[in-house]
Amino acid sequence: MNIIVPIKQVPDLVEELEIDSSGKDLDREWLKYKVNEFDDHALEEALLLKEAHGGAVIAIALDGDDIDKALYAAAAKGADRVVKVTGNYAGISNRAAAKVLAGVIGGMNPGLVLTGVQSVEDRDGQIAVLLAHYLGLPHVSVVTGVEVSGGNVTVHKEYGGGMVAEFEASMPVVLGVQAARETPRYVPVARVRQAMKSTELEEIAGGDPGVSSGSSISRMFKPETGGGAEMISGSAADVAAKLAEIIKSKM
């Protein structure tokens, strides 16, 4: 069974975000990127399934800044193959990315396609569901647990309020992963470096998406913070004293 895991890089929100001079995008010059945290969960779930049932985990990503490192990190964690889809995909919409990925993944004989349920940049929709529709495969999103049995998977989909729905789906199927059953594994930088030497990064030329988001950004702006919090500053003891007063007045 091939378990395909599309991953992507997103801006690290720990960094301060600034708007560029066009007023329509982030100032990306100094932006730090990291793998979408939900893609990390998808990879972890894929590796857990491989460990339990065998098969091959194939991490795949569209060409872009820093993506080689992200793919090597996936290899270091245990991905059997890492594939970069080459082409000029800078600033690509999710819909177009899904179409390009579908073109490549469709030829990989997928059993399961696991990717993150969402990312912080999903302006035009979530990759997992878009991908499923371009592949013509069934899908379930917001998945927190996957069990494989024969040609079927049993998945848990999270609703609000702690409620979970259980579905059974026949493979191949695309799953948008919210959380893996285990915390995504960590690999030290040394292991990633080692993977860079020992792993073949496969390159497959991607196609022309032929679709776009169907919309364009007219402006980007920071949320208004007016009417927000009254900030309390000072030494820890001062702050604590003021907070204690506020809390007592509310109780």
């Binding site: 819909r95 379930v140 999103s141 169907g214 702006f221 949320p223 500053s233």
Partner: protein
Amino acid sequence: MANNIFVIAEHLKGKVDDVTYEMLGKAKELAAGGQVVAVLLGSGAKGLAADFAADKVLYVDSPELAEYNPEAYGKTIASLVSAHAPKAVLVAYTSQGVDIAAGICVDCDMPLVAYATGISGNHVTSQLYGGKMNVESAVDGDRFVAAVIPGSFPAAAGKGGGAAVEDAPAPDLSGLKVKFKKLIEPAGGDVDITQSPILVSVGRGIQSEDNLPVVQALADKLGGALSSSRPIVDAKWLPKTRQVGKSGLKVKPKLYIAVGISGAPEHIEGMKDAECIIAINTDPKAPIFSYAHYGVTEDLFDVVPALVDKL
């Protein structure tokens, strides 16, 4: 049907989710000469439309639609959107809606704008980057699908009733590859955080499971309960029953102290209606401060123990 606005109704266990009413209210504003059409799927669920403030309800009844199923619901909704060609479709950005919205986009070739918190004409505002940026999108042409974040619009404007309910046919739903098995209720036996008037809620800023006693001490001192944001539950440092937010629990305590929580939209959805919110986070730009009444940017490891001493 050129100016009609479709609203995809959401329900679970015989109860309509408030976001449905929120979207109906917004749709009325957007319809401009067209009709607000609520789309309701289910089995013997027609009565759920009783309070819909809509011009019309399209109701599809089928045993395959008795419980939400991404494949059956996706096919049915796409077939209705294709047949009726509404100008816009509003879908909730919820566990169900995330499956549905992108399907309409591809199957009916309509632009999708996700994480929507505002819609005006063919401009849709999205909350991106964990709530740190808003982005306004101009849709090419007039038609679009918006995946709306719950809580973005008032629900009252979408409540009314008296809409004509029209039965619509289900597409062929034989041979579904996804089957609904069962609903699993949240595990009981733990503290019910929705009932606690005081919550001390902990996020990533706590750094390690070993540091949890720091915040537990504050909860104990206040006679409140310890709750958390999603990463703490994913890391298994606290049980799922303690999670506040979109896929956790919605809480409305008298006092909510957010410690080391940045305030991603998914978390905000679960706690923004608390009476008094105090946020402690070292990042002054953290979105949580837009929702808190009082904010502190000192280190939680200094402030929280000092606060326990003062109480």
